[in-house]
Amino acid sequence: MSQVTPEAFIMGLSALAAGLAMLAMAGVGLGIAFISAKTVESTARQPEAQGTLLKTMLIGIALTETAGIFALIISIILLFANPYA
């Protein structure tokens, strides 16, 4: 039976944790989908407001994305700049 070194064990669990951290993207995807759906609805109701709606939608998407970006940065740190290994 092969021996698992402590460093390899930590790196393996870190990779698992990085994958789990990206579960946050599920919520971000749902949020962006809601924003886009509502924007499409509003544009269909009021086509002349399309420019303003697009701008507001982009800002809303950017703010929603923040949670996902933090999850991404955490998993990048776990994979490439691991503080424990």
Binding site: K55, I59, A62, E65, I69, F70, L72
Partner: protein, 235 residues
């Protein structure tokens, strides 16, 4: 896999990385373009001057639409920021490392935006009104408001950094995979790299880069005009 920017040379304890060199080159190119565009100004523009007027006109229109005509004095800063971020993020097309895929580049830019937002807010509503606004609606909300203000530059810097770095990682994974596929097909020439990565290149290096630069300046503009217009509501 090596993720950080390469260190070109070292002065004392200071590492001069790719990021520093590329940002200097981009800044010099923008300055050179501005000099060429304004060297011989004519009434009917052509050549560099026409492109310069197109860019400046578009940026002034965007600032006027978002912040209002009375805040046009912010347009030069917004335009410079947008041009630098847009060119700095699209470096991936040339197979160089994008400048904005480094926190050392995005955090200072976000800090400059942060200082500008709060300086203009204090100037518009005086220090007393500024503190009063931080303590609204109730005085015990002051720490929470300060914390949410402090989060703004961090999220602003992390947003563009995370997006561009994700693009860099995906592109380098794709290049490695295509190279080893063409190795396994029995040739040492990575011919699969020829056309296949183009759609992803377009998405990550052009669309995403432009969108993130736009969002960066858009959030700066929105928060600046929010900070200024608060005082107008109270009067």
């Amino acid at each position: 896999m090596e993720l950080g920017p390469r260190i070109i040379f070292t002065i004392g304890d200071v590492n001069i990385t790719e990021t520093v060199i590329f940002s200097l080159i981009i800044s010099l190119l923008i300055i050179l373009f501005a000099y060429l565009a304004t060297r011989k100004m004519e009434v009917i523009p052509h050549g560099f001057q026409a492109y310069g007027e197109l860019i400046v006109g578009t940026i002034y229109k965007m600032v006027a639409d978002t912040m209002g005509k009375q805040n046009l004095r912010f347009a030069p800063y917004i335009g410079t920021l947008f041009l630098f971020l847009a060119f700095g993020s699209t470096l991936g097309i040339l197979d160089l490392r994008p400048v904005t895929a480094d926190l050392n580049c995005t955090v200072p830019l976000a800090a400059v935006s942060f200082v500008m937002i709060h300086y203009s807010s204090i100037r518009a509503q005086t220090l007393k009104g500024y503190i009063k606004h931080l303590g609204s609606p109730y005085a015990f909300m002051l720490p929470l408001n300060i914390m949410s203000e402090m989060m703004f530059p961090i999220t602003l810097a992390c947003r563009i950094f995370g997006n561009i770095l994700a693009g860099v990682i995906v592109m380098s994974l794709l290049f490695t995979a295509l190279e080893s596929f063409s190795e396994s097909l029995g040739t040492h020439i990575p011919f699969l790299l020829l056309v296949l990565p183009l759609p992803l290149n377009f998405f990550f290096d052009m669309f995403e880069a432009g969108l993130q630069a736009f969002i960066f300046v858009m959030l700066t503009m929105v928060f600046t005009s929010n900070g200024i217009n608060v005082s107008e509501d109270h009067e």
